[in-house]
Symmetry: C2
Subunit: 346 residues, 2 copies
DNA sequence: TTGTACGCGTTATCAG
DNA sequence: CTGATAACGCGTACAA
């Protein structure tokens, strides 16, 4: 039964109707263990009857704790981020914490501004994406003393707390798979490198893996694209323009892979008979494409959940360890196969 | 040039190094017009030099304004919401407001709790999804006096400020199109109705439109599904089990439409030759499916932006009008065609 | 135009 | 276990 209060109820009022002091009300509500059961019941009843809702700002000012954590991600358009954010927020909710969210659109300055604003709002902790940020940002973070955690990169990628997987290893796994099938001419359809260390790490991993297999990887075999289907299809054609098509393509993610499949299909190129394609992310739709997409499953929700847990632990001075890196899983499906015989090159 | 401060800088310190009073610093920073240009410059310099960041809680307590708006959406997994949220946040960012975000997973109780938490945190305004909420929620909202706006429904759907389009009209447009092509047996693959007035309104619109066209719509022609591809495909088969397939299917959204197309394809059912399908949302991928998906384009970002603008206006006591409803657009592509002749029924 | 002094609503400290 | 009281850091009448 909620009663509609006529005006803002303050703690004083609750205290008065419960016949105790404001201090006791505060304790009864925030630290029930410190108060006698009867008193506690009395206070709770009064609070509920009056519809008392504590004033967050006052509480934050007095307790020096806002019960809010911030998150800044490049975009919500990419489901890997919205999934991670969803998990992050649900974990916070369970501890009665609130999430402040902002997007940077892969712009370092916007990210800086958003982080600054969040610090100003008094967040108790901050989740960032990527392990390489400008010095100004790190300075700001250190100056404020706000606990923060970086995501989507392995711990070793940064001296600061970081949680994610190794993007270098990711492309290695893909190349190993493809090379194992017999591919020798592998191309990469990468994302835009600007302010994106995940993409850069994958490039590094790709080059290293190809070298290990003693396979050539000329610059012409790497094209860059954003994640709009149109752009991806254009990237596909761009690669065709640069010479005979590779027999396999490593896509930056499942959306890119989808774009590649669509373009291949519309050109009558058979996947995987004539062209193998590997995605990253294992979006739900990946399993349902024709053919179903071979991809790498990445721990999206885990990243969000662990980031929340790490920050919560830091805030409450509980000891925490971050895993060195999260596991990746190659999901073998229908878009990879041995390369076509020479005389059947695309 | 950012200097790393050793500890928390308060306004006092800035005042001291600028050689003015704290009050002047506050004014210079928040209301530059009220201060002489030289003084203002001096203060700004000192603030920057010290890396001063105002304490949000203290500011909120004193000014009775948190500069934060809350948003509660069912899920971030549906891109219509993540798109709208993205637009909402960007609009806030432009006015130096911060967004608090929580998801309800279509659960009324969770939504209530999240709203309550946000009010407690002192949000200056709130964005909700849907125009039908529990009485408890409206009571809470009214008691707190926090401006709020409902989204994804037309203004007429609620006595409270609401911004969106008419879901009834949406299905009418679709049915008109399909009936115009000659379809007489039209089915609907709807979303789950639980705490989702959008889905319910579409059902109402569907029934009304079919009636207007004097077309039958037995209950067997309506199946419900969540938005996982697996579930959608199962829903497709469920409809087949109920009798001969309709010649056209109205999908709750593009994801559902995609699932239907995948299932049809894997059964060798030709779209649109044997079966027409219409989606809702016009996701980016819709135009790239085979065949490209006929769908309704909904104003996702517009909803987010307008919601932000409405709340901002309310907060600053500016006059605002909300549009009665936002426009929908039928995007004709390749998944709709006249029904097959009788002897070619699926 | 600028400074003084108080209040914002809560929590934490310290007696009792 | 409970109550009085002093912060918490800033904004803003009001006075100068």
């Amino acid at each position: 039964m909620t009663i509609k209060p006529r005006a803002k109820i303050r703690i004083e009022e609750v205290a008065r109707t419960a016949g105790v002091s404001a201090a006791t009300v505060s304790r009864a509500l925030n630290n029930p263990a410190l108060v006698s059961p009867q008193l506690r019941a009395k206070v709770e009843k009064a609070a509920k009857k009056l519809g008392y809702v504590a004033h967050g700002a006052a509480r934050a000012l007095a307790s020096r704790r806002s019960h809010a954590l911030g998150a800044v991600v490049p975009t919500l358009g990419n489901t890997i981020f919205s999934d991670a954010i969803g998990a992050f927020q649900r974990r916070l909710e369970a501890e009665n914490y609130t999430m402040l969210l902002a997007t940077s659109d892969y712009d370092e300055e916007v990210e800086y501004r958003n982080v600054r604003t969040m610090i100003e709002r008094g967040v108790d902790g901050l989740m960032l994406v990527g392990a390489t940020h400008g010095k100004a940002l790190y300075d700001l973070l250190e100056a404020s003393g706000v606990p923060f955690v970086q995501t989507w990169a392995p711990a070793k990628a940064s001296p600061y707390p970081t949680i994610g997987y190794d993007n270098t290893a990711l492309t290695r796994i893909v190349v190993d798979h493809l090379a194992g099938l017999g591919h020798r001419d592998i191309g990469m359809v990468a994302g835009l490198r600007r302010n994106n260390d995940r993409v850069r790490a994958r490039l590094v991993g790709m080059r290293a893996a190809m070298r290990r297999h003693r396979l050539p990887l000329p610059a012409s075999r790497i094209v860059f694209t954003d994640y709009r289907i149109d752009a991806v299809r254009a990237a596909f054609r761009e690669m065709q323009r640069r010479g005979p098509m590779p027999t396999a393509l490593v896509a930056n993610n499942d959306i890119v892979a989808l774009g590649l499949m669509l373009e291949a299909q519309s050109q009558g190129i058979r996947v995987p008979r004539q062209l193998s394609i590997v995605g990253v992310g294992d979006l739900e739709v990946a399993a349902h494409l024709h053919p179903p997409l071979t991809t790498i499953r990445t721990p999206k929700q885990t990243i969000g959940t662990l980031a929340a847990e790490y920050l919560l632990a830091r805030i409450h001075d509980r000891p925490v360890e971050l895993p060195a890196e999260l596991a990746l899983e190659l999901v073998l499906r229908g878009t990879t196969a041995p390369p076509p015989r020479k005389d059947k090159t695309v």
